[in-house]
Amino acid sequence: MTGIAKRFGATAALVGVDLELAPGEVHALIGENGAGKSTLMKVLAGVHAPDAGAMALDGAPYAPRGPGDARARGIAMIHQELMLCPHLDVAENIALGAEPARAGIVRVGARRALARAALDQLGVDIPLDAPVGALSPASRQLVEIARALSWGPRVLVMDEPTSSLTAREVDRLFTAVRRLAAGGVAVVSISHILEECRALCRRFTVLRDGATVAGGELATVDDAALIAAMVGRPVTDIYPRSPRTPGVAALALRGVSGADKPRAVDLVVHHGEVVGLFGLVGAGRTELARAVFGLDRMRAGRVAIGAAEDSGAAPHRRWAQGVGLVSEDRKGEGLALGLAIADNLCLTRLGAHATAGCISDRRLDAATTALMRRLDVRASGPTQAVGELSGGNQQKVAVARLLHHGAGILILDEPCRGIDVGAKAVIYALIDELARAGAAILLISSYIPELLGVCDRIAVMRRGTLDAARTVGEWDERSLLSAAIR
């Protein structure tokens, strides 16, 4: 792949990526969240067509017309979220979409043979009759790989294959992958866990901001150099920071634990302070926010808000206490896309615009319009459906909901992920303005420059546990990343 570029609207996801794979090698594709790794692999797998650049496969030009074409040419991709049918058994899943059949009747024996051959190639033994839903995550991952293998791929792409696996399962997976590479398949492994990359791969490519910034033999570079290549980016100054004076504790967590993650988390956020929460995807930051906000059950621990203390409370209690949450899952949980901006924005406090139980549309729209102007929401008006807005404007609506509610404690989960720079700047400015006015803000983010630019203190979460927060001056990009990866 040479000079691959891809834009989505105003966002350049890839600006010129070079990647070379040799048969029989396992190649590590490394980069921060949002560096363009997944987009690059989707270009390879025919999901997206590149805007520029060329690809060649076994010396011949390669320009897939779609995922089916890419698969036929020997490119197989294993997604981060598994694409399996949990109720079907292993053999049925492996043969899915390519069932051996005669006159429309599936030949059960041939299907089992096909599944057995694919699993043998991986060198694993999984019962063919077991429903996939009953298997361990690692076995499911192996079933997915086996399915890809049954197509006879030349190139196999694995997107974060170990994110849901235990150490022993990782070993099992790696053994299978090595065996596969020994058979001549080129494997790309996307990961940001460096020790795993070293264990599995020989060569690497680092992506940053959609471009290739480093590559070579893993044995010749140390972790520090890799991290430097991943993050080495100037912190642009879209982060206003006015002098803030932290006041009394607004939100104090003691030993907060969820079903699996978080585990015994202690954290204090003061009024007039922005505390950042960094960690890798899956470290348990979102789970912490959800447990505190009552969206998931708290298994143990205490939450103190001002003078009141409890061991978990429902979302309606939290809103009543002046706590607001912006979800990382804007479409799934943050907003009701089919409803009007006004309904979404005012949903937590509709009663404020009612007289004797009767909501006044005029007052609702007036309040909405005022907030839309304040946050520069581009829309036709307060009655437009939120689903018709751009991602950045949708996110502004999600944040404006907290303003409308008058929340004094704000939990913002990846508020700026996947939105344009203009919308980001609006949200950063708002965070600063609110913190100066005395709000307590907990900012969850995977984007290091943002955390360094906006926060007063930052804490790092790793596998469900949280280290003590340190002032922002004590952190830099490298120390944050190594604290998260360690």
Binding site: A336, S380, R401
Partner: protein, 338 residues
């Protein structure tokens, strides 16, 4: 205002308002179309005032059910037990009348029975987290069985009371003057008043807006502090009260409590709501639309009878109209979105 952005905003706002109006207009245009065709084909007998009064009376039972069902469907649920609930509440009202507790007690019995059935549905859906389809499918059998048990498997008869007047479409010479003056049956007026209250509830109350939010995205509604479980309980109980109201009208029409009545009526009610523009996926729907949907079905039935078509023709036509009306709605929505 001379601010160009403000002018652009106003233009766009007008377009949005127009689109909103258009979405309420869709089912209405279907109704007008159906009426126009029948007026042309059937002519005088269809347009006769007495026939139009008849149509309204034939609409009210489904309309009463549709008032409750609209809430449920807007909130992303479904209620298959409404037909059985109507039979059960009808039997309860008839028993109260038979034992000579008077019409007021009969009204209270029907409404309370309906609300109880709904509350049981709502509680199972909210706290046991079972799909509404399953819960109400079970209740479809349970409520029907209860109705038969209470009625001892036969129709419950009672002496005439003023409740019977509710469904008398055409005033008779013997009727009191106030019934003649109101021209249509009092039951129609009752539903009109209840519908007006429901329009207000759905559009203007916090509760109503919460229903749209839950139907549109339950996770977002939960995040925003809406108490999902409690709202669902209230929602199904209130809808049940409307099914009780429909049962009461059924009792008035049949002049007895029949435990085998309203078989499959839940499907007519659901069809009315869906023809009226509601989405079974939740978050979309309106009381006005559902009432128009109920009217469309009643007009089609009436027209088929006027034309002397056999029963099976009515069934085929109404079945086809349900699908065509929803398909037209999807087409329209798809275009306005693109």
């Amino acid at each position: 205002m001379t601010d160009p952005i403000a002018i652009a905003e106003r233009g766009l706002a007008r377009r949005t308002a127009l689109r909103r109006l258009w979405s309420a207009l869709g089912p209405f245009l279907v109704l007008i179309g159906v009426c126009a065709v029948l007026a042309l084909v059937v002519g005088e007998p269809f347009l006769a005032p007495n026939n139009l009064r008849n149509i309204l009376v034939q609409t009210v039972i489904v309309a009463a059910g549709a008032l409750g069902m609209t809430m449920i469907i807007v909130a992303g649920g479904i209620d298959l037990s409404s037909g059985s609930a109507i039979a059960l509440t009808s039997v309860c009202a008839a028993l109260a009348l038979k034992d000579e507790h008077g019409p007021i007690a009969a009204i209270a019995a029907a409404i309370a029975a309906g609300a109880t059935v709904g509350a049981v549905n709502g509680a199972a859906i909210a706290w046991l987290r079972l799909p509404p389809f399953i819960v109400t499918l079970g209740m479809l059998g349970v409520a029907r069985g209860l109705a038969k048990a209470l009625a001892d498997e036969q129709a419950v008869n009672f002496a005439p009371t003023w409740l019977d007047l509710l469904m008398r479409p055409i005033p008779r010479a013997a009727d009191p003057a106030w019934i003649k003056a109101l021209a249509v049956a009092p039951g129609v007026w009752l539903i009109a008043v209840l519908a007006a209250a429901m329009i207000l509830l759905m559009r203007r109350s916090v509760f109503g807006r919460h229903l749209y939010a839950i139907g549109s995205n339950e996770a977002a509604a939960r995040l925003c502090g809406i108490r999902i479980e409690r709202t669902k309980l209230e929602l199904y109980a209130l809808a049940g009260a409307f099914f009780g109201c429909a049962g009461l009208l059924m009792t008035a029409r049949l002049r007895q409590g029949d435990p085998t009545t309203a078989m499959g009526l839940e499907l007519d009610i659901i069809a009315a709501v869906v023809i009226g523009g509601a989405s079974l996926a939740g978050g979309v729907g309106s009381i006005t639309g559902s009432l128009i949907g109920a009217l469309i079905m009643a007009v089609l039935r009436n027209g088929s009878q006027q034309l002397g078509w056999p029963n099976y023709m009515q069934e085929i036509i109404i079945g086809a109209v349900i699908v065509v009306a929803v398909a037209l709605d999807r087409l329209r929505q798809g275009r306005s979105r693109g």
